[in-house]
Amino acid sequence: MAGFYEAITAYPAGTSTVSRYAKTAARHGFDGLVVRTRDAAYDPVAIGDRYGIDIVDGIEVDAENPESASGSIGNFREACTLLLVRGGTNALNRYAVEQDRVDVLTRPMAGDGDFNHVLARAAETHGVRVEFDFGPVLREAGGQRVQALRGLRKLRELVEQYDTPYVVSGTPRSHFGLRAPRELIALGEQIGFSAAGIETGLAEWGRLAARNRERTDDSFVAPGVTRGTHDEAE
């Protein structure tokens, strides 16, 4: 089983630095963190050495509309390992799931956003992961939480029906908001997910990062084909 990853909002967008997240994540049993914040300052090697956490540099594009998202995707695709697009409107959701360059569509059900069978199929075709955002379930109460749960259920039913790839995150905004994998799995089971489903979603971040790192490696030519020295002995 691949290791569990969490995708975090770090300082200056959040209130904890990446290294502090890593310290907490190591204690909670995570294997890696995906940093969503573009202007966060951190040293992945030093953090990895100290806390044993794999830090993945990601960028979460937060755009008003598909046109400006398109510009950001073009600008940042080369600059990061994982490219995330924040959904939340129907136009953005639709745009993000049809882009091969996008790795993850985050919080598609937030705000006015909605999801349907067309988007689920498109996401599957283009390999875009949709995110199950547990943040509102962990931190909101009352009506907002009910809405978030309703959104999660609809998304889950579509994802199961159309085999759409997905990721799971608690979307912490500070290291206090970080919850251990076992807690997230227990929470998922309470709200109708399967334990295996949550494990897959938490590990998917790591699989995605490994895939993208392999692809951006200098020796990579095509899937299964790499450039290297030919070994005569074989």
Binding site: Y11, T15, S16, T17, S19, R20, A22, K23, T24, R27, H28, D43, A46, I47, R50, V137, L138, R139, A141, R145, S174, H175, F176, G177, L178, R179, A180, R182, E183, L184, A186, L187, E189, Q190
Partner: protein, 159 residues
């Protein structure tokens, strides 16, 4: 009332829970118990909350770090974990919670999982975000006091 014979008493599990919050947070047992009941009531509903029967036993919290034991009915530990995960603030202070382990007795729980962390923090100044700022340090963890509130960092951020 006369206590139940041993074979019919409810069986319990004890969760060792680690609590982390800001350096100036003041959290007591009552506040934590209240938030825990709210979280369980909201997530599990009244029946689920009654089944889990979450009760805070020993509670210690100082200088932004604490540990506690939560008693749960045997077989309800997963719902209890889920409810604990949903406690995000206590008296308006953000808290991080982490279940360190589960035992069948209070004593085993204390001996195996508790008493490892101290709340000794020191005040000093650190260079962060282009200025010299007051901070609270506890081991490698450093809470930097900024105009907007605390920013949590570690020693790695000042090297």
């Amino acid at each position: 009332m006369k206590h139940l014979p041993k074979y019919i008493r409810p069986r319990w599990r004890y969760l060792a829970v680690e609590i982390e919050s800001t350096p100036d947070a003041e959290i007591d047992r009552g506040a934590f118990q209240r938030e825990l009941w709210y979280a369980a009531g909201n997530l599990l509903g009244d029946p689920g909350s009654a089944d889990a029967d979450l009760t805070v036993y020993s509670f210690a919290f100082a200088d932004g770090i604490g540990e506690t034991i939560v008693r749960v009915r045997r077989g309800e530990t997963d719902p209890a974990r889920a409810a604990l995960a949903c406690v995000d603030t206590i008296d308006g202070e953000p808290v991080g919670l982490f279940v360190r382990g589960i035992s069948g007795t209070v004593r085993a729980c204390e001996e195996r999982y508790l008493g490892h962390r101290t709340g000794n923090s020191e005040q000093r100044h650190v260079a962060f975000a282009d200025a010299d700022r007051p901070a609270y340090a506890r081991g490698e963890a450093v809470e930097v006091s900024m105009p907007t509130g605390f920013v949590s960092a570690t020693e790695l951020d000042f090297e």
